[in-house]
Amino acid sequence: MFKGFPLFPESASTVAAGVDSLYFYLVAVAVFFSVLIFSLIFYFAVKYRRRREGEIPPLVHGNVRLEILWSVVPFALSMIMFGWGAKLYFDVSTPPPDPLAISVVAKQWMWKIQHPGGQREINELHVPVGQPVELTMVSEDVIHSFYVPAFRVKKDVLPGRFSRLWFEATKVGTYHLFCAEYCGTKHSAMIGSVVVLEPKDYQDWLAGGPPAESPVAAGARHFEELGCKTCHLSGAAQRGPSLEGIYGKTVVLEGGAVMTVDDDYVRESILTPAAKIVASYRPLMPTFKGQVSEERLLELLAYVKSLTPVAPRAGGRR
């Protein structure tokens, strides 16, 4: 109807319809009460205008039933907003099992993306249609925000910790990708596109580029080069906890605290090793801060994950 002049953004993900219904509910409530209140204001202003000088209108003492009515009805309406919103929030933030794991590194002013097979791209994200995709995102500098309006998803991308976002595209096409958190001079140019392909086309696209090293393989290489192996995977004599099968498990820390080994814990243990020492080990490990880029950190993480046969979902702090 309004070709070339979209009144509403395209919807192309499984959660879009749910987000839109809640949005329309909010708009409907707001419009209804705005119209009601403004009509009544004008109506009363005319009806109860002063008709002669010194007029003494009747005494009104209020009306308890009215008071209750117009407190309870809005309360109920806003509790619907709350309940509905909370449910939607949890749905949108819980990914389905076995999503396609893609990593995103944001920096001033670009999006760097890596696929599970190691294929990299910048400011473009190719994904298959009808398959859940989970992004593990981190920033190299300031706070950015990954925003795809057509999918109705947005998530801040922070420096120093992982944030996650999932979506399942429902329609083949090319969609806008924006940075939605002001991040400096070229914030407005930190844009890209998400290209949704048929699964077969996605496979072709993956195979089309130059041969890539998978993150796990690259992580294993870093693991070797940085000497992690000496202390963490060398058998009985090693000085640090073995990383085999550790991801997603709980460990007991020095002092008795219990910690689940998740992405953020692995990350912290590489950059700030002394922060959370597993009980019965000593704080011997040097920091790797400044030596490992965000991309290599993600690859190391992929490798550590691969050491646990079927990695259970651990996720990060959300």
């Binding site: 109860y48 209108p57 009104v60 003492h61 008071e67 809005p74 709350f82 944030s163 140019a189």
Partner: protein, 405 residues
């Protein structure tokens, strides 16, 4: 304004003509003169902020950056935000109308601390000068929210100078809030109990609470940003061992309640409108809704901003905020409906029992004083009079006599 009954010419001597000259204005401790000083300086900042907004809109006429470069554009919206939020929206109603009307509406001669009141204007002006310096020397580009680590590490503009301006201006808010709270507690006319207070006073009381609870938090936060920027203390930048979300928690602890610093006084103003037709004020006693709402808002607000700590999305401007939005909609809705009720019952009852008459006389009298005073200001030749010794309040004993009689 012929509706204002009992008006006559201004007394021979009043706050505008009691003396003249720059000195008499710059050293005044009269709450009405200070209100006018605020009016002038806030108007100045309003036009400055508006000027930035005009440039933003002009640039947006075309998609290309042809009027200003991206750097300048970012500075424009930042300066627009900083000036409008901290130098216009926050002080606009309390510092002008509040300063002018609060003492009169509760029957006091002035605020509890007149010198502190003057100091608050000087503090505001000092903060404003810092901001003007930033404008002249090249601007700041962090957005008015100063999000870290962009503001503390990456921005190449006058963050520290702006932060100092905001920090200093915060103290003028604190002083005003403190003054209102003490005045409303200690200087109400005899017989003017809490539930007989006009809603304008309640609104300013609630606002003052937020001012003295929230402002220190943003003051400290903004100093921490400056410290991290200057001395590389690791507070907010993860590269230094800090936490960028910590800034957002602290910032919104003030800035979210600050929207109530902006809106509550305005609601107070709106609540006063129906009184011009002599509405029975005792009704508030049996329908304490608006009072509860006004005082609940700051409390609820400080709580929710604390509760939101720990979730990913702190920014109330974020579109995922519907959880919090729901209770806001409800409270604001209740307040709106109070307004509707006000409009629907523009009535003036003749008092029938002694208590009601007493209250009506007290608050209505005070209201007329305040409105008359504004009318004086607007028309320069009208005033309510009723043999008052000087502009600035009704004597308590006369009110008592009226109530008792």
């Amino acid at each position: 304004m012929s509706a204002v009954t009992g008006t006559k010419l201004l007394p021979r001597e009043h706050y505008l003509n009691v003396n003249y000259g720059i000195r008499s204005w710059l050293l005044t401790t009269d709450h009405k003169r200070i209100a006018l000083l605020y009016l002038a300086s806030i108007t100045l900042f309003f036009f400055l902020g508006g000027f930035f907004a005009v440039l933003i809109r002009l640039e947006l006429l075309t998609p290309a950056g042809d009027l200003v470069q991206p750097e300048t554009y970012n500075k424009l919206f930042t300066m627009h935000g900083v000036v409008m939020v901290f130098f216009f929206l926050i002080p606009a109603v309390p510092a002008v109308l509040g300063n002018f009307l609060v003492p009169m509406m509760i029957g006091a001669r002035d605020l509890a601390f007149p010198k502190l009141n003057l100091l608050s204007w000087y503090v505001y002006t000092a903060g404003g000068l810092f901001t003007l310096t930033v404008v002249v020397t090249g601007g700041v580009d962090t957005g008015w929210t100063f999000y870290t680590p962009y503001s503390s590490t990456y921005a190449n503009s006058h963050v520290i100078l702006t932060a100092l301006g905001v920090f200093i201006t915060g103290f003028s808010s604190i002083l005003t809030g403190l003054n209102f709270i003490v005045t409303i507690h200690k200087m109400r006319a005899p017989g003017l109990t809490w539930f007989r207070l006009p809603l304008f006073i309640w609104a300013h009381y609630a606002t003052s609470l937020i001012m003295i609870l929230g402002t220190p938090v943003i003051a400290v936060t903004i100093v921490l940003v400056a410290l991290e920027r200057l001395f590389r203390f690791g507070i907010f930048d993860p590269a230094l061992g800090g936490d960028p979300l910590l800034f957002q928690h602290l910032f919104w602890f003030y800035s979210h309640p600050a929207v109530y610093i902006m809106v509550l006084p305005s609601m107070g103003v709106v609540n006063e409108l129906p009184f011009s037709s002599n509405r029975d004020t005792t009704e508030w006693r049996i329908q304490p809704g608006p009072i509860t709402v006004k005082t609940a808002m700051p409390a609820r607000d400080e709580l929710t901003s604390a509760v939101r700590a720990g979730t990913g999305s702190l920014d109330p401007r974020d579109d995922r905020r519907h959880l919090q939005l729901s209770n806001e909609v409800w409270l604001d809705g209740v307040t709106l409906k109070r307004f509707l009720l006000d409009v629907s019952t523009l009535t003036a009852p003749e008092a029938d029992d002694k208590l009601t008459r007493g209250t009506t006389l007290t608050t209505r009298q005070l209201h007329r004083d305040a409105q008359g005073e504004l009318a004086c200001l607007l028309s320069r030749n009208r005033c309510l009079g009723e043999a008052r010794p000087e502009a600035g309040g009704v004597s308590g004993s006369r009110l008592l006599a009226e109530i008792g009689g």
